[in-house]
Subunit: 533 residues, 2 copies
């Protein structure tokens, strides 16, 4: 099979279809993901295998993790598409081969370079759980079979591509669980992420885990994820006073009329609010720098007015200023989107904001104003979301950054890559730590479902053992209590590992679904798990 | 000034010299670092500034952090070179402009696209502390001046490029401090890092923070960092027996003779060790799969034989097998490098290994064998290094991965980017949380040194205040106790912020030093700090 080198080779930037097995996927999203993105020992081992004439021996490796992250009961598997993109385009450039030659000891033979020159993943087979699946410890997420030297070279990049992807998707799913299904969740983590594609990866995998949108424009472009964002504190403090606003006119929403002095209209509304029956005394003078910033932003985005209200004082300045601008917009047929709170007691402030909005709706007869959207941000995480729920709040959308994307409470998922078979012989790694002993043999992995279509347990069988069958009783290890056993009679049996890269086996290749389908799979599977837990 | 778009534009992959101010740096190491790698709100703000005719107003932003990470007393500043590479090549492509146009509301004016089309950083000035410097909270690491709309667009990428870089460099420096100056420190984190360039960045910035080498081949190639690595457990378990070794001959180190059956030589040595006076009874039968793997590896790398000895049993198999191969190599004039321990009680096992090596040296008269190198790995971090030191150990080199590169104990550094001045007017961000109130005004930042050339304190002055002078008494805030003040008479005054991107100011541009110089600056500055702390 012909496998193309990394990178595009026609004008559209796409790699054309392979000759026999459908389209070869594009290369990895990050062009830094090359065959050199691996540990040096993969090359020293490859050389030693090659030198011993052992490099073509057929090996089977399992990629799995030993423990669910965040002290939880499940993990979301992600990163598969990038793994397949990497494998499909795995090929050394001459520059890369020269670098390897210089890096290995001078005593190494040049024939190894010829070997690397001809190397690709055409003899490799990769089986995987579908991306976005809910998965559990010890069951392989990937099974990779192929000539031992090349499969070893894949170890580090595959681990790198799966580890963080699955960790952050799981973290996103956990945040979604605490926030509840009805809240909008926005990923705001780019500035604090661990490097540029730590940020881009976070946006992609948080979307899979159930987030609705991201602030990261690059991720929006790469993956088609919805984008969200309005303005920062700096925008507010960059204004001094309303005098700065030169162009003051605003056309009405339907284009039928024009307000020549939108600034005066805003000021009139601020005065009306100030002296209204229900809000009298709540505030005296609002910050004029902030009012100018809001007014200016509304003039730029009359259909998308969302204001950050905590630069100076939320209750006495930010919310009244927002409402004055929103009501002026309403006069012209526009509907303001809402506010963002980025500091202080978010539960209290959101409830006060809601009261304020409801009072405005009632007093000035603006239908729906009470439902103006409230977004909250500021170092949110699972715990603070839970605390907000317990206190009671009126937040509609959460913007979550640092704790989400860096997986602050557990910054790494410990996926490992273990040799389980070579030349059809089972292999094991022993350890004084029992949890680190690998499970030998090429395995079949199955998910057993009960009567209502809910998953019961995942089991592994040796390749030559019979597969579990619908309606047949089978003895399983209890999923949450290792010392217990339980009989299960499955109503449905699903083979977990599907063939995503068939090599030269002639097997059918699973399609890589679009991101939205992966996200839907995740959300659907989680809804079933959560019911059980 | 002509600023070139991202990416190479001649055959060497290098951007040619700029017309007036010397060479324009190459683009960012990661091609994903483009002007779209930012939050959407930077674009909505830019549009609102542009719409209000405010986009060219001259703003000053400070980039700083509020608290040292890891509960420590210092931070290592890193990431500057990537920031300058980004700024120097900041330019939108037509595709990027189209994407922004589609993303912004339809009501936005097309003139904004023309504005973006002409945008670069020629009017931006960037001042920074030199990369690799030891820095402290609240003092700006970067000061960026320029038209407000473009400087806001830079906020997110600059934060992204500085935050993780500085965090992981600091983490590396802390590991170096605990390990001590004489130990070899190897960064092994790629497989657990947060995404591909989380791994590549970790390798670079751990090197700056005082590590000696990495396992990450891509990072070795990008940055010239020394590479290290030998083999894994899978290599060991991929062998069944010595019968697998077909090519058994090995030439002597000086080429003068050849051993036709190196396998038999190894077996002979294993037998000698087994029945030697001092080691009799330590082991009975070693694992033959392991012995085969070691022998095969030595045949491939006779000058670089380093064996992972914990696949089966360190004391009863791994170490005796290693010694047998090492002594066989020694017969042929080669010197084995050492062993790696990757599990178990590293303090105990390293001491046992050392005793074994010393016994071999004595019994068989092999000079220097007792000093055979011992590398330890397996989830090491500051605490475990400290515990090893307290227990007493014989480890010469540490391989550190997960905890180092993901900064497990604190996965984010909270750098912020605050507007401090616009049109020469100071600006402030207030907050109910006093630590979050920004310090307004464009600042001068100075490090004051005492008699022996040791740094005493960093101070900030308003731009129009007099700078501190050598020999003149100045009242400073106490560096570790905010409520205290202290008089300082500096013997040397250093301006911390240097001009790395002069825009059109005509100022001289600081060179970007090579990575090794940055590393040396860091190590030198830390040695002075540590003496004081």
């Amino acid at each position: 099979m012909e496998v193309k080198a990394n990178g595009p080779n026609d004008e559209s930037g796409r790699i054309p279809d392979g000759p026999t097995k459908g389209r070869i996927p594009d290369g990895p999203t990050n062009p830094m993901v090359t065959p050199l993105l691996t540990d040096l020992y993969q090359f020293t081992m490859a050389y030693a295998y090659w030198k011993a004439g052992k490099h073509q021996e057929r090996a089977v490796f399992d990629l799995y993790f030993r423990k669910n992250p965040f002290g939880g009961e499940y993990t979301v598997f992600a990163g598969l598409e990038e793994c397949i993109r990497f494998i499909a385009n795995f090929k050394f450039t001459e520059d890369e081969i020269s670098f390897i030659r210089e890096t290995l000891p001078g005593s190494c033979e040049d024939g190894f370079c010829d070997y690397l020159r001809g190397l690709d993943c055409s003899e490799v087979e990769l089986y995987a759980v579908p991306e976005g699946s809910v998965v559990f410890p010890k069951v392989p997420l990937l099974r990779i079979e192929g000539p031992i030297a090349v499969v070893q070279l894949l170890e580090t990049p595959l681990l790198n591509l799966v580890n963080y992807a699955s960790l952050v998707a799981t973290n996103a799913a956990r945040h979604r669980f605490v926030a509840g299904k009805t809240k909008m969740l926005l990923e705001f983590g780019l500035r604090r992420a661990q490097g540029p594609d730590g940020g881009i990866g976070a946006s992609k995998y948080c979307y899979i885990g159930g987030f609705d949108a991201t602030s990261n424009v690059a991720a929006g472009r790469f993956f088609g994820i919805p984008l969200r964002g309005t303005h920062s504190h700096a925008f507010v403090s960059s204004y001094m006073s309303l005098d700065e606003i030169v162009e003051k006119s605003l056309q009405s929403s339907d284009g039928s009329s024009s307000c020549e002095d939108f600034v005066s209209l805003v000021q009139t509304w601020l005065d009306k609010i100030k002296w209204s029956n229900s809000l009298r005394g709540v505030f005296v003078e609002t910050n004029q720098s902030e009012l100018a910033a809001f007014t200016s932003y509304a003039l730029a985005f009359p259909n998308n007015f969302l204001a950050l209200v905590d630069t100076y004082d939320v209750i006495r300045s930010g919310i009244p200023n927002f409402c004055a601008v929103a009501l002026a917009l309403s006069d012209l047929g526009y509907k303001a989107v809402g506010i963002r709170l980025d500091s202080g007691d978010l539960a209290y402030l959101s409830c006060e904001a809601r009261k304020f909005f409801c009072a405005i709706e009632k007093e000035f007869g603006v239908p729906g104003f009470g439902k103006t959207s409230i977004t909250a941000s500021n170092d949110l995480n699972e715990e603070t979301l839970d605390a907000l729920n317990k206190q009671g709040h009126e937040v509609d959308a959460f913007g979550i950054g640092t704790y989400l994307v860096t997986c602050f409470t557990q910054a790494a998922l410990g996926c490992v890559f273990k040799l389980v078979e070579i030349n059809n012989q089972p292999r094991i790694k022993l350890s004084e730590d029992v949890s680190k002993v690998s499970i030998p043999c090429k395995k079949g992995c199955f998910r057993l479902y009960g009567k209502e279509g809910y998953p019961l347990v995942d089991i592994m069988t040796g390749e030559n053992e019979p597969s579990p069958k619908v309606g047949e009783r089978i003895l399983c290890r209890h999923p949450f209590n290792e010392s217990k056993r339980a009989y299960v009679v499955p109503q449905k049996v699903e083979e977990l590992l599907k063939c995503y890269w068939p090599g030269i086996s002639g097997k059918a290749r699973e399609d890589l679904p679009p991101l939205k389908e992966i996200r839907e799979r995740c959300i659907k599977q989680l809804s079933k798990c959560v019911l059980i837990i």
